[in-house]
Structure formats: C-alpha cells, structure tokens
C-alpha cells in the first residue's frame, strides 16, 4: 500500500459513513483517486470495491486522473452563462490548446467545467484551487494564464482577489 494512505487510514474509523471523507482525504493527498487507492479504501472499510467506485464516480469532486498543477475550473452555471462564460471557456480552451476535461501535456494546467460555485455576483468566474478570479473576459483569461505561467516558472504567487 502507498504510504500516505496508511497515515490516512490510521486516523479513520472503520464505518461506512466515513467513506466520502476518506476519499476526500485521499484525493487531497494524491491529487486524484487511483484504482489502487480505491481498492485499498474498500478493503479498509470492508465494502466491495464497486461500492467505492460507485460513490466516487457519483460525485463531481472526485477525479480519476491526476489534475494539473493548476486545476482550472470554469463556471458554466446560469448566472455565469448569462455573463458570457461560454466565451471564457472558448478562450481558455484556445489558450491552453486542450478541451475541457483534459490536462495539458506538461501537467501544468487541467481544465474542467463546473455548474455554479456560489459566487454569482462575481460572474463569470474562473477557479484555481481556492482562488476565484471574478468578472472574467476573454482578454482577462490571457492575463490570468500569463500570471499563473509566471508563477510556475518563478515560483511567485499570483495576486489573490476573490
């Protein structure tokens, strides 16, 4: 078993209701849910691997391939849609040269669509981990990416303005 998992299991009760928090912790550690990690969770909780896989694939939060260093999410909720999120998505797909749901070859960025993240007064938004970039335009998409690329190259943090 992978070592970080053992640490997680050590502080977790063997109860079915712990499954989702357990998967959340695994994902936080590994960046995604690998097949092996899901099997280990099933074994630990004494439930079939299919039950773990069923739960993991049911919820939007879980991912099964490693995310990019910057897991970008573009909100396509109704309020963002009305403020032009489609254009933001198109601009981002063009700039990163990947389609939503994919990771750039250098693993620096992954791009996903989400439906409403509850910051509709700031629409349209892009989310990078816990940072919200408000009132996006296709032009600002380039700016955000330039900032993040610079951070990747020089280890500098972007200015956070949620």
């Amino acid at each position: 078993m992978v070592e970080p998992l053992e640490q997680i299991f050590a502080s977790c009760k063997v109860e079915r209701k712990e499954l989702i928090p357990l998967l959340q912790e695994i994902q936080e550690k590994l960046g995604y849910l690998s097949d092996d990690a899901m099997k280990a969770a099933a074994e630990f909780l004494h439930i079939p691997p299919s039950a773990v896989y069923g739960v993991a694939t049911f919820y939007n939060q879980f991912r099964f391939v490693p995310a990019g260093k910057h897991p970008l999410k573009i909100c396509l909720g109704t309020a963002c849609h009305i403020q032009g999120s489609k254009l933001i998505m198109e601009a981002m797909e063009r700039e990163l040269d990947i389609k939503a749901g994919n990771v750039t070859p250098d693993h620096e960025f992954s791009l996903d669509r989400v439906a409403c993240v509850g910051c509709c007064a700031l629409a349209p938004v892009i989310i990078d981990k816990k940072t919200v970039y408000p009132r996006m335009t296709p032009f600002k998409v380039e700016e955000v990416l330039a900032l993040l690329k610079e951070e990747n190259a020089h280890g500098r943090l972007p200015t956070n303005e949620p």
Partner: protein, 421 residues
C-alpha cells in the same frame, strides 16, 4: 428590516465569537435553557416560519414531529449544500456570521431533544468550512456548545461534513444518504426524515437561512415575526440577484417585496432591456416584464406560475437567446439527475437532446408539445424535487417565447446569432 444580515451589515462586525456576543449573540440560547422545549416550539409555530431552502415547509410543524418522535438519538442536520445555480446566500451567513447558525442549531437541538448536530456543507465552500470549524471550537470553549451548555443539563455538539459535489444532495433525503457514505440518491417519502432520518433516527433537517431566523424568534417572540412581510409566509427572505443587473448581490427584504422593487430599487435596474427573470433558480419558471409586479413570497410567486425556490433571482436581458438558455438548463439537469428514477434520468437526457437539436437546426416542432407532456409526467412520477421541477424553465420558455423556438426550428437559425447553426 433585516433579521439575518442584521449583524453582518454593522460596521466593524467580524465572524468572531466576541463580535457575536457583543451584539447579543447566544442570549437566545441562554433563554432557551430556562424555558420548556414545548414553550419554544409554540413560539416557532406561532412565527409561521417556513423553510427557505425552496420547499417552504412549516418549520414549527417539522420540529413538532421530530420533538414528538420517541426514538433516540435524534439529530439536527443543517443543509448547507447550497447548489441551486444563482444561489449564494447561505455562504454569506456561514462566512460572516457563523455563530448565528450554531446558536440556531443548538436551540433546535433543545427543542426536539437532540444532542448532535451536523452541518452538511458544500464541498466548494472552503472558506465557510474553515470559519465554521473555528467558530465551533470557540463556542465550545465558551460553553455554548459541548457538554452541559452554560452549566445546564443540555449538551449539544456540532460536526461538519463536507459535500462532494452533487446538486441532488440539496434534496433532504439524498443529503442523508450522502451523510451515510452512499451515493446521494433520494429516498421514498414517507417515512419522512422527522421519523426516519440520519441513520434511520428522527432528524430535523433545515436550510441555513431558515435556521438563522430562530434566535431572533426566540428573543422577540413568534408573534413579532409573523407580522413581518407577507402574512402567508412571513419574515424576510434573502434574495440572490445575479445576471444582467447593475448591482448583483444578496438582499434581505421582507417577504412579499414586489419583484420590480427588488430589481429597480435594490438591484440598481436591469442592464439593457429586460427579457426574462428566473425568480427561484433554474428549477423555477421564467417570468417576463408583464409579471414584474409579483410579490416575492412563496404563495404569490407560485400563483404567478413560478416558484420562489431558494431565492436565486437570475435576470436575463434581450441580448440572450431563450432557446440557448433553455438548452443550458437542460444540460445542467441531465448532468445532475441522480439516475435513481426513470422519468428523471431519461426525461432530463431526452430534453437535453431535443434542445440541442433545436439549437443546431435539426429540431422538430412536435418536440415543443412533447416537452410539455414530459414535464407533467416527470412532475407526477419523479421521486424528488429535481425531476419534478427539471423542465419548468424549459417549458415556461417555450410558453412565453414560443416564436423564438419556432424560428429556430422552421428557419433553422438563431436571430441573435448565439446558437450554433
């Protein structure tokens, strides 16, 4: 008139426990410990408070059922899985006045006879989660939570549970299944959660906004609350304004405030020319400029053929194509249907296919009638609110903007150039 945001809007107010106490926080809990639960319950019933999550169920009645249930342990569960697109009100309460929610849950525990509260918080609400975590610790230190609260024989703990991203978990029984570590799929009702809730025990399950009214009702009495706003669903409501509006944001106003006043006086007016409004998120029906005089309370919006829902008021101006927006709504529901019952699983998918066809020039006129029939079947036969309301927005768009749909189907084009040909 603000009940819920009253502290938040005071200058220098912070989410710290000291700020809350300075403003009279936890007085209601203290008072609750001195009177019988039955007395508190009658005040809640007298207030005529109804659930603010969307279903508008009388809170007093719900708590009475949980109070009368004789099985233990009982649970107080707070639905903080705010996921209806366009809704961002509970987030503000949790981030800026977390103790208001904690106090309300403890009072609920006192009333129904529960010692354990659970907050099911939306996974994406990182800040709210951290703020609540700290708030719980602070409240425990000061004996507002934990064993023998303020030296009484009442004990109450609250734990946090992070959701994993599923719109359907806003539905109460799906939320309970999710709390138990399962896929969030709705249960058959009855039995209702007040008898068979979390781990099959009696559970009072309420939305963040609903609970946040409780401390003031305890302090000022049910009668005081019942006289605010519109008599049939009194109190205030948090309206989340978004879309083509000059001042988007959360506004707390007495129930029954006319929609026109909300948009004009508070929202600073519509950006451009108004085309349609969703008064209660994507599961409600579109209203148009002819219906702006509607009073924003549960019965009045229902009478106008829509729903107040969670209070997500999404404003749409005339630069938008209604077919495109209807399509977007169907995509959302097709993705979020939990797949448990056939009418919803298949209906949302077929609706998405039909709308996609219409936007791409391969639509059929007969689809418009079919969608109307599907909405009725899904309303009658879906297990939970998701399927029951999934086609509201689409069908109301067809009813109110039929010419746009016909144009897409007959001329195979979008006059606004939004839908891809």
């Amino acid at each position: 008139m603000e009940i819920i945001l009253r502290n938040i809007h005071k200058q220098g107010y912070s989410p710290d426990i000291s700020s809350y106490i300075t403003e009279g926080g936890y007085k209601a809990l203290e008072q609750s410990l001195e009177v019988k639960p039955g007395h508190l319950l009658s005040e809640i019933k007298l207030s005529k408070l109804v659930g603010r999550g969307g279903a508008a169920f009388p809170t007093g009645l719900k708590w009475e059922l949980a109070h009368n249930a004789e099985e233990y342990p009982k649970y107080v569960v707070c639905n903080a899985d705010e996921g209806e697109p366009g809704t961002f009100k509970d987030r503000i309460i949790m981030e800026r006045d977390p103790h208001l929610l904690l106090e309300a849950m403890a009072i609920c525990g006192r009333i129904i006879g529960s010692t354990q509260g659970i907050i099911y918080i939306r996974g994406e609400y990182f800040d709210a989660y951290e703020i609540l975590k700290k708030a719980i610790l602070d409240a425990e230190k000061r004996k507002f939570l934990g064993r023998n609260i303020l030296g009484s024989d009442f004990s109450f703990n609250i734990r946090l549970y992070r959701g994993a991203g599923a719109y359907v978990c806003g539905e109460e029984t799906a939320l309970l299944d999710s709390l138990e570590g399962k896929k969030g799929q709705s249960r058959v009702k009855p039995p209702f959660p007040t008898f068979t809730g979390y781990e099959d025990k009696p559970t009072a399950l309420n939305n963040v906004e609903t609970l946040s009214n409780i401390p003031e009702i305890v302090l000022k009495g049910g009668e005081w609350f019942s006289k605010i706003g519109s008599p049939l669903s009194p109190g205030t409501k948090l309206y989340c304004l978004s879309g083509n509006i000059h001042k988007p944001g959360v506004y707390e106003l007495p129930t029954g405030t006319p929609l026109s006043e909300l948009l004009g006086k508070y929202g600073g007016g519509v950006e451009g020319k108004l085309k349609a409004v969703l008064p209660g998120g994507v599961s409600s029906s579109f209203l148009t400029d002819r219906e702006l005089s509607v009073n924003m309370d549960y019965p009045s919006v229902a009478k106008a053929g829509s729903a107040l829902g969670s209070g997500a008021v999404i404003v749409i101006n005339d630069t938008h194509c209604m077919v495109d927006i209807a399509k977007r709504c169907t995509e959302f529901f097709a993705h979020e249907s939990c797949g448990m019952c056939t009418p919803c699983r298949e209906g949302t998918k077929r609706a998405k296919e039909m709308l996609t066809g219409i936007t791409q020039g391969s639509g059929e006129l007969s689809s418009l009638e079919l969608l109307r029939d599907m909405r009725k079947v899904m309303y009658d036969t879906s297990r939970c609110g998701l399927g029951q309301s999934a086609l509201n927005a689409v069908v109301s768009a067809i009813e109110k903007f039929r010419d746009e749909f016909e144009e897409h189907i007959a001329a195979k084009k979008c006059n606004l150039g939004i839908c891809s040909g």
